[in-house]
């Protein structure tokens, strides 16, 4: 219960936030930050218990019939994520209160932010796949609202929609995957699924499950080829980028992969897919980051690279890799949070995020600059920072990775070097030299400095004293991912080994890149231009355009609005399906021994056929109606001759009524003017004949093939003793099927009502 309260308090705040009067005052943000801070403290108190291999759970029955529970569960992995979400949440709320101070709609913004926090905590704590999915989609929706917060900017709208479509679409794929898992594993309970270990990996539906889950995870965590939405999402206010698009939400995909690793991981498919997509994303993100000049875009692409790295590590899936992934997950949240918050502070203090317009911030904004420096050192992966330990672990893991190890090693080294170049370029331009900025730069208020300073300090402290986190946080988290105990011993300095040498090699690459930057830029720019249409972002737009085009053509083809064609298609479909069914299911038997044909039968048939022909050929409506009437009377005669005089009588009456009604209606219509061209008529005639022939065959077949059992005998026997009536037809109408008769009367009354209403309405319209 306590767990649920602290996990979901964000939702309460989200509902209350728009109505709270606190946002106009500066301490409003401090108060609000207290809520996630309380959650953070609560989760901290759980650290010792989780470290002792305990789990904390809370569960309520939700959908017992589907075996879905609303269940929360804290294990090592969940705890690590929950601490990140609540801790970062507190800092970001504090920061946003100052960053957006005085802006209209701050209350609304806070509501979205708290809604997101509740959803994200729910996501990482969920113990049930369906619960997880509900929160997963909620994070997409709240992220959409947060990106689109500044809706006057057109690019914000575009970006928000793009992010929602990509992650929302991936989410629906995930739902398919979860449904499959639920049925294969027989439960939605995550702990049971992961404990069941090999069951899923050997099932025949493993591949669809994997593909659907990866589609969900890759879209959420911005893996190639879905990475393009993340830079677009930078239209969001900077604290949102820091929180959602770097520290927490984009990690949801990675989290999911880590969570399901014991159940789905360590197969060839898993390893190949994750390492391939992860490495490509990693290298691509780093390379694009080099070319950016907008501070936030640099950070966004380097985040893409980091997410790729995490996926790569999970793909390798050895204990070493899992341990590295957990360390890097934490390290990345710390330093990327620092960088984003510092970037927001720079934006706030100078009015721009363009590298080209900035300089000398070390003097103008010393605290921000210091935090930025620590963050950049982490991004580069060198120095006494947690990210260095993470990177060493990556290289270590890649080195021990058997298949295609060389390619992965090259990828990791190149990425490391490129990111180093990115960090160095960024720092050099921002901090050194004369003070340059559009406005006179000023340091930000303390609320905005608390976050970056605290995070960067932690980054250094954890690196110098890794024992603080190795036993309590990383080891339980790694154990949850690996599905078994993992020995975790972290150290900043391992002595001179291959990993360190490779790190140094990447340093050389960085130096080369930096040195040759002016010469390299045109070359890479040309490559980027040439690949332009193939860029996934472009692909996304062209495929949307194409989808629209196909849809338009399709609609024009199928929904042209011509009633006659609609009728023809309906009839043709029915005929075609029926013929196909007969052909496939062994045809029908026809009995061709018919009795003698009497001369009056020939005459009646002649009348019917002539009537139908005349109705078709008639050039005015009245003739057509009368001719149709003749068909009806002919059918009535058939009834009369074959022993159903009452039926014939009814048919006579109905026909008369119909003809009268038709005349009444058609009286008001103009003469037939257009007769369709010959080909159309030939087509229609062929279709009509086919339909008629088919029905004839069916009628004959049903006479031949059917059982002799009929209702006549039953009614004849029972009408006298049961219903006390000698006229069987009357008895059927008013007794056996009295309800149907009642219904029929109502139908007729309604039809009459309709006719009256129509006449009345038309009269009112044209007096």
């Amino acid at each position: 219960m306590t767990l649920a309260v602290f996990a979901l308090c964000g939702f309460a705040m989200a509902l209350a936030a728009p109505f709270l009067p606190i946002w106009r005052f500066r301490p409003g943000g401090w108060l609000a930050a207290g809520v996630p801070a309380a959650s953070f403290v609560y989760f901290l108190t759980l650290v010792p218990r989780i470290g002792d291999d305990e789990v904390v759970t809370a569960s309520w029955n939700w959908i017992p019939t589907l075996d879905v529970a609303f269940a929360l569960r804290v294990d090592g992995l969940a705890l690590l994520m929950a601490l990140l979400v609540s801790g970062m949440g507190a800092l970001v709320v504090l920061y946003s209160g100052a960053y957006l101070q005085g802006k209209p709609g701050l209350g609304r913004f806070m509501a979205y932010l708290f809604g997101f926090m509740g959803s994200m905590l729910g996501l990482v704590l969920a113990a049930d796949l369906i619960t997880l999915f509900v929160f997963w989609e909620l994070t997409s929706i709240t992220s959409f609202l947060l990106i689109s917060f500044e809706t006057e900017k057109p690019e914000a709208r575009k970006a928000a929609t793009q992010a929602l479509l990509v992650t929302g679409g991936g989410g629906l794929a995930l739902l398919g995957g979860f449904a499959l898992i639920g049925i294969e594993a027989g439960t939605y309970d995550i702990a049971e699924i992961t404990a069941g270990g090999g069951g899923l990996a050997e099932s025949s539906r493993y591949l669809p499950i994997l593909v659907l889950v990866l589609a969900g995870a890759f879209t959420k965590s911005a893996q190639f080829p879905f990475h393009f939405w993340l830079p677009g999402a930078m239209a969001a206010p900077t604290p949102v980028s820091a929180y959602l698009h770097s520290a927490t939400m984009v990690k949801a995909g990675v989290y999911l992969l880590a969570r399901l690793h014991p159940a789905l991981g360590d197969t060839t498919e898993w390893t190949v897919a994750l390492t391939a997509f992860g490495s490509v994303t990693m290298v691509l993100g780093a390379f694009i980051a080099v070319h950016q000049t907008d501070l936030k875009l640099i950070l966004a692409y380097s985040t893409v690279a980091a997410l790729g790295l995490l996926v790569l590590l999970l793909g390798i899936g050895t204990d070493l890799a899992v341990k590295g992934a957990m360390v890097f997950l934490l390290a990345h949240a710390l330093y990327k949070g620092t960088l984003f918050l510092a970037a927001g502070s720079i934006d706030h203090g100078t009015g721009t995020r363009e590298l080209g317009k900035l300089g000398g911030l070390a003097r103008a904004m010393p605290i921000t600059a210091a935090a930025l420096a620590v963050g950049a050192v982490s991004l580069a992966g060198f120095g006494p920072v947690l990210a260095f330990i993470g990177k060493e672990a990556l290289i270590e893991a890649v080195l021990h990775f058997g298949q295609a190890g060389e390619a992965a090693v090259i990828g990791a080294v190149v990425t490391g070097g490129t990111l180093f170049a990115v960090a160095a370029g960024m720092l050099g331009r921002l901090l050194i030299g004369a003070v340059r900025a559009p406005h006179h730069p000023h340091e930000s208020p303390w609320e905005m400095l608390a976050g970056p300073v605290l995070l960067s300090v932690l980054s250094v402290v954890f690196a110098l004293a890794p024992a603080l986190i190795s036993g309590g946080l990383v080891a339980p988290a790694a154990a949850a991912v690996a599905g078994e105990q993992v020995k975790v011993k972290l150290a900043l300095w391992h002595g001179v080994n291959t990993a360190l040498l490779l790190s140094l090699l990447s340093l050389a690459i960085a130096a080369a890149v930096l040195w040759n930057a002016p010469r390299l830029r045109p070359v890479t720019a040309r490559i980027a231009d040439a690949a332009g249409p193939l860029r996934p972002g472009e692909l996304y737009y062209t495929s949307l355009l194409n989808l629209n085009r196909v849809a338009r053509q399709q609609t024009r083809l199928l929904q042209h609005g011509y009633l006659r064609l609609y009728l023809a298609i309906t009839l043709a479909t029915a005929v075609a399906l029926t013929v196909a069914a007969i052909a496939v299911r062994g045809g029908v038997e026809l009995d061709n021994s018919y009795g003698d044909i009497a001369f009056y039968e020939v005459i009646i048939a002649g009348v019917i056929i002539a009537g139908a022909g005349l109705a078709i050929r008639a050039s005015d409506r009245l003739t057509a109606v009368v001719a149709l009437g003749a068909v009806g009377f002919g059918v009535a005669l058939v009834y009369a001759f074959f022993g159903a005089p009452d039926l014939a009588l009814t048919q006579f009456l109905v026909e008369t009524l119909t003809v009268l009604l038709f005349v009444l209606v058609f009286y008001r219509l103009p003469r037939l003017a257009n007769v369709s061209p010959v080909p159309t008529r030939v087509r229609d005639a062929a279709l009509s004949l086919a339909a008629g022939a088919l029905m004839t065959v069916l009628v004959l077949a049903s006479i031949t093939q059917t059982s002799d059992h009929t209702l006549t005998a039953y009614f004849a026997e029972t009408s006298k003793p049961v219903a006390f009536g000698r006229n069987v037809v009357n008895v059927i109408l008013v007794d056996f099927r009295s309800l149907d008769t009642l219904g029929e009367i109502i139908v007729l009354a309604v039809a009459a009502l309709g006719v009256v209403a129509m006449l009345k309405l038309r009269r009112e319209d044209s007096p």
Partner: protein, 485 residues
């Protein structure tokens, strides 16, 4: 219990229809009471239904042609709720039109009684009759508007409906010819006895039945009337068509297939037919919905796609055979969820077009600033149509997919998943317009009280059952349980 008691819910509605007509012609100055009388009739009908549930006394009546079981009861509630919402949503429109008010409500109520009969019928003749009882007033209602678009809608609906009815009748006649009975359980017995000999004919009859009901469900390729009729018919009527007759068609098809045509040798064929129709409906409906600029047409195509989702459940039923009611309960849940959601969306459309005088999606821009509560309600309905939590549409989709996978129709579920993504694109585009578009004018507005009531009821259903779906699911499961044996 006598027989009249059994048709009480229908009679209450019909009596209300008569009262409305009388009131309209005798006391014309009290016209604003007409919808009140209609609503009272529906309430009485629902109370009558509830009184049975209390007694728990289920049985078959009128020689077995009508079933009083949990299944009928479920649909009685659904139809009474749908009709009440439609009546509420119609009030403004009818007042503005000013003419034929009594007739309008009487026809709406008659449709309701027809739908109720349809859900309870166990006999082919009664089914056909109930179908006509619900259809003929709908043809008239579709053409009720003053403009030529509405007349065109009425005519198209009537003519295509007539073809569908005749195909249905051929199918029923064939079944009667083969089995010599029109009562569903007797049909089942006859088919079990010696049906295999007539396998070809039975399949043909099934196809004709599916074609006839497919028209009402609006599945591809019998969906052609949908966009024109939805756009042309008065919007409350379009709302009625989109949920009422679709739900009834699925209700009766489930009954026919569970109680009448449930022989094992037939099920492979149906399953294939249903699965193919489901895939075609979802895909074509969604693709064509993408390019629509008129929200009513868009909702029309989306209802075609949604019919495809329902059909996954039908395909699942037929594969798994009749000891397996998951498919049926999934469809029932979907029916209820879809009724809330789609009615909510349509009522939202009515509210907005009343104020801005347009059904163009581009004119929805900036609705969030002009009428926040309305925009939020419509957005929730759109999210629910997409099948995203925390809305009732999510559970419905999960249930349907679940049934599909259990019945080994993984390929169909995958198509459904892909289609959900496409559907999300156009549903959420409308939401984007409302929340992020620039309004041409900033004048704020509110919906009228009756519309607010209708929209409020629907949206609260969407959200509350999105968070606590269990009551709805239990009801659906109880109702489907009657087919288990």
């Amino acid at each position: 219990m006598n027989s009249l008691d059994v048709v009480g819910p229908q009679l209450a509605v019909l009596v209300a229809a008569g009262l409305v007509l009388l009131l309209d012609s005798l006391v014309p100055q009290q016209r604003r009471l007409l919808p009140v009388v209609a609503l009272l009739g529906l309430i009485v009908s629902a109370l009558w239904t509830t009184s049975w549930v209390g007694r728990g006394d289920y049985q078959f009546l009128f020689d077995g042609t009508l079933a009083l079981d949990k299944y009928s009861v479920f649909f009685y509630y659904v139809f009474a709720g749908i009709t009440a919402t439609v009546v509420l949503a119609s009030i403004d429109w009818v007042n503005r039109e000013g003419r034929g008010q009594g007739e309008y409500y009487a026809l709406v109520l008659t449709v309701c009684s027809g739908l109720m009969f349809l859900a309870a019928s166990r006999d082919l003749i009664t089914i056909f009759l109930a179908l006509e009882l619900s259809s003929i007033p709908q043809y008239i209602l579709a053409g009720w508007g003053k403009d030529s678009k509405s007349s065109e809608a009425g005519l198209k609906y009537l003519l295509l409906g007539a073809i569908a009815s005749s195909l249905l009748l051929y199918g029923m006649a064939l079944i009667y010819g083969i089995t010599g009975t029109t009562l569903l359980p007797e049909i089942a017995a006859a088919i079990k006895a010696d049906g295999e000999t007539y396998r070809g004919l039975l399949i043909v009859a099934t196809i004709l039945l599916i074609a006839g009901f497919g028209f009402k469900m609006a599945v591809v390729p019998f969906q052609m009337w949908v966009p024109d009729v939805y756009q042309g018919a008065p919007t409350p009527v379009a709302a009625f068509l989109s949920v009422g007759s679709k739900a009834a068609a699925f209700a009766v098809v489930i009954r026919i297939f569970f109680e009448g045509l449930d022989a094992d040798f037939l099920s492979d064929d149906w399953s294939m037919i249903f699965a193919v129709l489901a895939a075609a409906s979802m895909t074509l409906g969604n693709v064509m919905a993408i390019v629509q600029t008129d929200i009513k047409r868009m909702l029309g195509y989306s209802s075609v796609a949604q019919a495809g989702n329902f059909m996954i459940g039908l395909a699942a039923i037929s594969v798994a055979g009749n000891e397996f009611t998951l498919g049926a309960s999934a469809i029932l849940l979907f029916v209820a969820a879809y009724a809330f959601t789609n009615l909510g969306a349509f009522v939202g459309v009515i509210a907005i077009s009343q104020r801005i005088g347009s059904d163009q999606i581009k004119d929805y821009a900036g609705m969030w600033k002009r009428s926040p509560v309305l925009a939020l309600a419509v957005a929730f309905c759109l999210i629910s149509l997409t099948g995203i939590p925390p809305t009732v549409g999510f559970w419905a989709k999960l249930y349907i997919f679940n049934a599909g996978i259990r019945a080994d129709l993984v390929w169909l579920v995958l198509i459904g998943v892909l289609n959900s993504v496409v559907a999300g694109y156009y549903y959420l585009s409308v939401a984007r317009q409302m929340f992020m578009g620039d309004a041409e004018e900033d004048k704020k507005f509110r919906a009228s009280p009756s519309i607010t009531m209708a929209l409020g009821a629907a949206t609260i259903g969407v959200i509350v059952f999105g968070i606590i779906p269990m009551p709805l699911m239990s009801a659906a499961q109880d109702a489907a349980e009657i087919f288990a044996r």
